[in-house]
């Protein structure tokens, strides 16, 4: 399936958001995810089915002013 992850086009095997994080080597409780502009809480990632062309954002804490 083709997805856009953090602005980059990728071909992946994963069909859920949780599986996608594992496949791309993302792990940790400090990550936040959004799909097509809406938040997907950590608790909802396992059952969240991905669709062709979905845009996913994976964010983590960073310096800020």
């Amino acid at each position: 399936m083709k997805l856009i992850v953090n602005g980059e086009a990728l071909e992946v095997e994963a069909t859920t958001l949780e599986a996608l994080l594992k496949e791309l080597d993302y792990e940790g409780g400090w990550l936040a995810t959004a799909l097509n502009g809406d938040v997907v809480p950590a608790a909802g990632r396992a059952e969240f089915r991905l669709s062709e062309g979905d845009r996913i954002e994976i964010l983590s804490p960073m310096q800020g002013g």
């Binding site: 602005g7 940790g28 400090w30 502009g37 964010l59 983590s60 804490p61 800020g64 002013g65």
Partner: protein
């Protein structure tokens, strides 16, 4: 102690965590400032990356409260989504709400800001809106549910200091009971002291400390300036006048001719 939305804070200085020469200097500057609250952000993490984990671990070790921001958001939708993601990651409903309207001045889009503030307040957030010094916008933000306001005193990172004292005075005068935090534009400790003397409750700064030749020394200097300005405000400042008034008593003065 400074009561901010029911939270007792030891310091009236809030400090940003960006643009320091190194994580170690950031940590030392935070300690030297005596701050109780630092601002943080969310950014894209690289696959397999651990940058976010390392930063978050450093911040947690400092024992301070965090105020996540929505920096870089240019639309209501972006800001609201970022705020919700920040709440989950940082475990706080405090959010410094930024909706940027102009690329050059980083001036807030105050229309989008009010709209986003309303949505987030209804969702249980404590919204700290990064706004201009406009009185009417401030009123709209309070109507939207904000309990605190964060007007700029000059554009972010400009180091210009308070460019419109009259507007800042007006905000303080109209909202005596609302916590007002000057956010953005402070360049020198004397700028911080000036706005604190006007009766502002706190200041939030980043670049002036982070980009100083010695961020740790500058953090300490700002801390003293904030305390000095606050104490001066509480002690009753002398109003300026156009004529001289002798400070030494004139009664009993010797007459030699």
């Amino acid at each position: 102690m400074f009561d901010l939305l029911g939270t007792k804070l030891a310091s009236r200085l809030l400090l940003g965590t960006a643009r320091y020469p190194s994580p170690a200097i950031l940590a030392d500057a935070v300690r030297a400032s005596g701050t109780s609250v630092v601002t943080v952000s969310l950014r894209r993490e690289m696959a397999g990356g651990r940058a976010g984990e390392q930063f978050w671990s450093l911040i947690r070790s400092l024992g301070v409260r965090v105020l996540p921001n929505t920096a870089g958001c240019h639309s209501v939708k972006e800001a609201v989504t970022t705020a919700k993601m920040a709440r989950e990651v940082f475990g706080t409903s405090w959010i410094k709400l930024e909706v940027i309207g102009n690329h050059d001045t980083l001036q807030p889009d105050v229309f989008g800001l009010v709209e986003a503030a309303r949505i987030l307040c209804q969702d249980g957030f404590s919204v700290f809106p990064y706004t201009t010094d406009d009185l009417v916008v401030a009123e709209r933000l309070l109507e939207a549910g904000c309990k605190v306001l964060m007007p700029w005193c000059a554009p972010i990172g400009s180091a210009l200091g308070p460019v419109n004292i009259m507007a800042l005075r007006s905000l303080r005068g109209h909202f005596p009971d609302v916590p007002l935090i000057v956010d953005a534009g402070l360049g020198r400790p004397s700028h911080a002291a000036t706005v604190m003397e006007l009766g502002f409750d706190a200041v939030l700064l980043n670049t002036a400390v982070a980009k100083a030749a010695d961020p740790v020394g500058m953090a300490r200097a700002f801390s003293k300036a904030v305390d000095a300005g606050r104490e001066a405000y509480g002690s009753g400042l002398l109003e300026p006048r156009d004529v001289a008034v002798p400070s030494t008593p004139t009664i009993g003065r010797a007459v030699f001719s």
